[in-house]
Amino acid sequence: MQHITQNITAEEQMFRLFQENLDTLKGQEPESISRLRQKAAENFHKNGFPHEKTENWRFTSLDPLFQSEYHHDFTNQSRPFDIEKIFTCDVYDLDTFSVTLLNGWFVYKNAPLTRLSNGTIIGGLSKAMEVYPDLVEKYMGQAANLEQPGLAALNTAFFQDGLFIYVPRDVELEKPIQLINIVDSENPLMIHPRHLVVQEKNSKLTLVHCDHSLTHNVSFSNSLSETFLDEHAILDFYKIQNKGPNSAVINNAFFRQKHQSKLTSHSLILNGGFTKNMITATLEDPQTSAVLNGLSLVDSNQHADNQLLVDHVAPNCQSEQLYKGILDDEATAVFSGKIMVRKDAQKTLAYQNNKNILLTDDARANAQPQLEIYADDVKCSHGATVGQLDPEAMFYLRSRGLSERTARQMLMYAFAGEVVQRISIEPLRERIDHMVEKRLKGELTICDQCVLHCNSKEPTVFNIDASKL
């Protein structure tokens, strides 16, 4: 494991680290990917980390994250373990094809790469680069924007492993693929997981992506995923985050959609110290659709930032964004969503909605719902509200004899329910529904899904305190 030394800028540190470990980072990857890596590192060195003057980072400062000295695990020294012994997914009756990343490295029992009988390939990215270099080369770096100051370039410079999925033509995967991303380290750890998902024509995939931390140690996860949906491909994507208060998670998800493909994304932040989810969906061909839903339930001094860009390049496409947040204590939430309608994207239908409830005076909500439209025959709208529970609804419930606490919990549950109801996998929806309910009652802990029973610390319970409403 490597140490970062102090007294030089974080950018410079990272760049030096890159140069020192270049050979390790490259591993067995194809030449073109090494070139991409080099270019990304140079871009990062030039543009640096986003700072408070960077438009989409005005309310999300990375500064506190740099107070820790991070270790890096470039050679996969995480102790291998049997994942089932320390972690079981809480969605008991959800039958999934489950894969795990530990500290950014793909964990496997038999083989790092599995090829199912229908041709689907699931496995670790680093192995995929060895076995299917052509496939990886064709897509790697084709969706991510490496030019802007930001963490996409940093990830591209440093990534080593992650999830690789290839779904061939006409294949519909019935079982969802579940990726469990675990960080477990005694030292502060910085990781750069990278995921690549390729769906050929007419394929169908459900991907559940869960972020967890097993310890309360500081970690900084800068992940990036690129997803390519070919014609008529359907992807149902879930991102569930239930992390410790000292973890920082940055997710950069890029989706490129071809003709009549359909993306549904759900991003649920139940706990997390510092979370920034960025989604870029590019609707490249006509009749594609993208639906992005999100729910953030944050308290104490958690920070949840959702940054979305739906880029309508082609005509006759549809997109919808629904993001909701409930904020307690000193929690902060940022929503910045942009609908971009390019010149020829006529007949676009695009909607965006962001609603927040603040429970305390110290919580803060910042919303920037943006429309940038260059075509005339479109219907676009956006709305953002920040407020409290509806007093009339409250009165109604109270007049029916419910206690104030129960009434408030019901209303908050209903507020969150609008997003939860959009989850289409039934067991998952029920489970999430239950988790949200527990979360609102203050009963959900980050140790909930964990069977490790780390003896060092008490389970952390975050309360959404109904009496403060």
Binding site: S381, V386, Q388
Partner: protein, 483 residues
């Protein structure tokens, strides 16, 4: 078929020439080109300003030199050479007139062409006019009526001579010279403007109005308006603009400061119709303005209403700082862009006091190759309990090559405030058009009707005289085109 007609109409609009483009030949008293401390001393000396004003200007200038031009707006223009601008020009013949008959007839003719009734008609209309032509106030009427009430309404230079203490007390309190690049520039070189002071408890009996007009070529116009409404007073202030057709870009960087004290109310309305440049985007006025109001005391109220049809580039955000408890801020705007025009406009509502309320209604209409952006900030601080905001920003697109953008910023810092923002972007509804056509209204009439209906919510907030002018302007701006 309907589309063809539509295109025809569109072409017609986009080709319609600027109707108020003419140029008056009056001898000018100009400062040499460029900007140095000497230019500023020249301006200050020329205007026989008190010492504090010169110091203010020099401080602003020194600060300005440390600043960089901001680039964040959604507008594009070639770099401005600030040394290639004449920072002061005044009509040379400037005797003090007793009546309008003595005024330079050429000047009067200019006003006539603009349709400004700077004569007896105004009295009947109940409007006092302080006409600013190239920075220097030329004629002021109805001073008497105002004087009786103790209202001061004069040019900024005059105010500096007669009421320096009032100016000194209030200038730069709402828009400090450190505020932004163009505010610093204006603070350093502002040539003239209007000053308005309403004493305690006085309700201004007239609608105060000023007509600004850029005249000399290559002259940046840097006016400064300061409106102070003392406790319990009320004033409605109007400003309108037209500029002659010139080929070089003219920079216009004004500052408007409004101070509304306890229980006072200020209504500020503006119709801006400066030359937008020709349809290839050549020429036109750059309108980079800082407008801000401060609701200083309890129950204070400030309302901005604007109709923006002119200027090659409009870049302004009339804002309200709601400092007093229960104070109210309003912003009503119609912005029309056509051809190559660009507008990045909106408002900022900063809620500091308790129970403060703000309303934002913004209607954008873009046609041709233009880009029209709404950019707004609604911020409630922790202390601003029960703050309430409602924002509605609609955009209408006419033609498939224009752009309409919305960039609202909502920042909420306490649990009891309610902030709502909604925006829609669409083109003219086919159903509405069909309905009108089917009732025998021609395409142009139908579009005009729909657009006027669309903007009505804002137009109805304008004072009567302005509402008529604004409606005409809207029709002219979109004439034939799409309305």
């Amino acid at each position: 078929m309907a589309e063809e007609k539509n295109n025809e109409i569109l072409d017609e609009l986009t080709q319609s020439e600027y109707k108020y483009g003419f140029y008056t030949d009056i001898e000018m008293d100009q400062a040499p080109k460029g900007l140095t401390e000497d230019t500023i001393r020249f301006i200050s000396a020329k205007k026989k300003e008190p010492e504090f004003m010169l110091e203010f200007r020099l401080k602003a200038f020194r600060h300005w030199k440390t600043l960089k031009e901001p680039k964040w707006a959604h507008v594009h223009y070639p770099p401005i050479d600030f040394q290639d601008i004449i920072y002061y020009s005044a009509p040379r013949k400037k005797p003090k007139y007793e009546s309008l008959d003595q005024v330079d007839p050429e000047l009067l003719e200019t006003f006539d062409k603009l349709g400004i009734p700077l004569g007896e008609q105004k009295k009947l209309a109940g409007v006092a006019v302080d006409a600013v032509m190239d920075s220097v106030s030329v004629g002021t009427t109805f001073q008497k009526t105002l004087e009786e009430k103790g209202i001061i309404f004069c040019s900024f230079s005059e105010a500096l001579q007669k009421h320096p203490e009032l100016v000194k007390k209030h200038i730069g309190t709402v828009v400090p010279y450190t505020d932004n690049f163009y505010a610093a520039l204006n603070s350093a070189v502002f040539s003239d403007g209007s000053f308005c002071y309403i004493p305690k408890g006085v309700r201004c009996p007239l609608e105060l109005s000023t007509y600004f007009r850029i005249n000399a070529a290559n002259t940046g116009q840097f006016e400064r308006t300061l409106i102070v409404a003392e406790e319990g007073s009320y004033v409605s202030y109007m400003e309108g603009c037209t500029a002659p057709m010139r080929d070089e870009n003219q920079l216009h960087a004004a500052i408007v400061e409004i101070i509304s004290k306890k229980d006072a109310e200020v209504k500020y309305a503006t119709v801006q119709n400066w030359w937008p440049g020709d349809k290839k985007g050549k020429g036109g006025v750059y309108n980079f303005v800082t407008k801000r109001g401060l609701c200083e005391g309890e129950n204070a109220k400030i309302s901005w209403t604007q109709v923006e049809t002119g200027s090659a580039i409009t870049w302004k955000y009339p804002s309200v700082i709601l400092m007093g408890d229960n104070s109210v801020g309003e912003f009503y705007s119609v912005a029309v862009t056509n051809n190559m025009q660009q507008a990045d406009t909106g408002t900022k509502m900063i809620h500091l006091g308790k129970n403060t309320k703000s309303t934002i209604i913004s209607k954008g209409i873009s046609a041709g190759l233009s880009n029209n952006s709404y950019r707004g900030l609604v911020k409630t601080t922790r202390r601003a309990e029960n703050a309430r905001n409602f924002s509605q920003c609609d955009s209408l697109l006419l033609g498939d090559r224009c752009g309409a953008h919305t960039f609202p910023y909502v920042e909420v810092g306490n649990k009891s405030s309610i902030v709502e923002h909604e925006a829609t972007t669409s083109k003219i509804s086919e159903d509405q058009l069909f309905y009108c056509l089917q009732r025998g209204i021609d395409m142009e009439g139908a579009i005009g009707l729909i657009v006027n209906g669309y903007a009505k919510e804002v137009l109805s907030k304008l004072p009567m005289e302005f509402a008529v002018e604004a409606q005409k302007l809207l029709s002219i701006s979109l004439e034939g085109s799409v309305g």
